[in-house]
Symmetry: C2
Subunit: 255 residues, 2 copies
């Protein structure tokens, strides 16, 4: 009997010291500067990322398409605009994920473009100094998106790699925008402002969003007050050279 108690007590203490706490944080596995500089080697697996979030976006090893995470499933959007479920061992060099928790919701009656949506949210979200995870479901009358093609080593910088991007345009498509509004002081770490990836309702189509016209949007926003970043351990990251003036580069890669 004493042995059983000892075992259970040891089990409890093990749980105390090794319990993986569910991170209530916006999580990243690299700063945006690393991606801009051409650090495209995947450093964290989907299996590791899914412990940090069930919602988010990013890219994949070798910049092989866009990544979107929705309802705990990780998808790759290839340059054909099609979405493919990722296996647990797929890797990402840059991903922003969180466990989505709705704090505010809106159902504006009118149709919104990308610009309209950002203005709508800027007038209603509590503070420009907090993170927001933003989800928008609706009927996309038009949607313009892109996906970047797989790169070969030696990797070019992101502004060069993006020149090969494939752009798709769809009409009358139901689906979800998955993204974040990032505070302006995060400039070296992520892209300030709005960034969305798209996934169709049937989960077969997606991409990095350039523009849209969405009807009947149902918008959910979740505040993020914690931010966590784990830096890569590979040579590529340890050696990349920081370039101070990247605002133009960021504007280029986002559009």
């Amino acid at each position: 009997m004493k042995k059983r108690y000892s075992f259970l007590i040891l089990l409890f203490l093990f749980g105390c010291t090794h319990a993986p706490a569910k991170q209530d944080a916006v999580f990243q596995n690299a700063p945006i500067h690393a991606l801009l500089a051409g650090c495209y080697t995947g450093t964290m697996t989907v299996q590791e990322l899914e412990k940090r979030g069930d919602f988010g976006l990013g890219t994949l090893d070798a910049l092989d398409g866009e990544m979107v995470v929705l309802d705990r499933i990780f998808y790759q959007i290839k340059p054909d605009g099609k979405a493919y479920r990722l296996g647990g061992d797929a890797t990402s060099p840059f991903a922003t994920v969180t466990f989505f928790k709705k704090d505010q919701e809106f159902s504006p009656g009118e149709a919104l473009s990308y610009k309209d949506l950002t203005q709508f949210l800027d007038e209603r979200l509590l503070s420009s100094n907090l993170f927001y995870a933003v989800k928008v479901e609706g009927r996309f009358k038009t949607l313009k998106a892109r996906s970047a093609p797989r790169q070969n080593k030696p990797y070019p910088v992101l502004t060069e790699a993006i020149k090969d991007q494939k752009v798709f345009e769809w009409e009358n498509l139901e689906g979800t925008l998955v993204g974040f509004r990032v505070p302006p002081y995060m400039e070296g770490i992520n892209v300030p402002g709005y960034h969305f990836h798209f996934l169709s309702k049937d989960r077969t189509i997606g991409g990095h969003v350039i523009d849209f016209q969405v009807e009947g949007p149902r918008i959910e926003a979740g505040e993020g007050r914690k931010f966590m970043m784990e830096l890569p351990e590979n040579e590529e990251f340890l050696k990349f050279r920081f370039e101070a003036d990247t605002r133009e580069a960021i504007a280029t890669v986002e559009k």
Copy 2:
């Protein structure tokens, strides 16, 4: 017997879900931009900060002096240059702390100035893209430091508040430099490069370091590959206005 087992199992599950994991991260409770903008209201207590680190630096509520954390003790350096142990309920609007873990150590034979030390470390630390916690013990032939005086509301921006700083110069003093080397991409969140606070061996004197000449330095550096930030919840933080070009402001407040 079954009730006892049930209790122990519940205890284990509680441990699993509520265990406070020791954060192996560099932790901050606000971005530097908030401090630059005049957000001086303390948002996290010493009692909360000591769960995030036993080493670091920062400031205190109302910018009331400099804070230095060494060997788990939190100190306030007042404008008289004297160090006072802080109680658990003292608050800080901006602190950078970590649990210090030595990864590299050096004992250069020669005396070093601030500039010499930064060059010495830049040649030896693994990567400019990682965080480093840096501790330097030695005999300070000369040391120039400052402490900022308590501010009144409405709080001025940091470049204005710093004009009231008191500067001290000491000679032949044993003590420790407590600080960090921050990667360049962290520009909006912290101050890139080196930042040290000083604490004398007898723990009675300290300040934000401006320059020094240290003899027989014993240097320890700990890599930081994880970064965590928890944002304040007060009106002051939610409303502060981000100013895009702060490099000049940061240079001013550091020196």
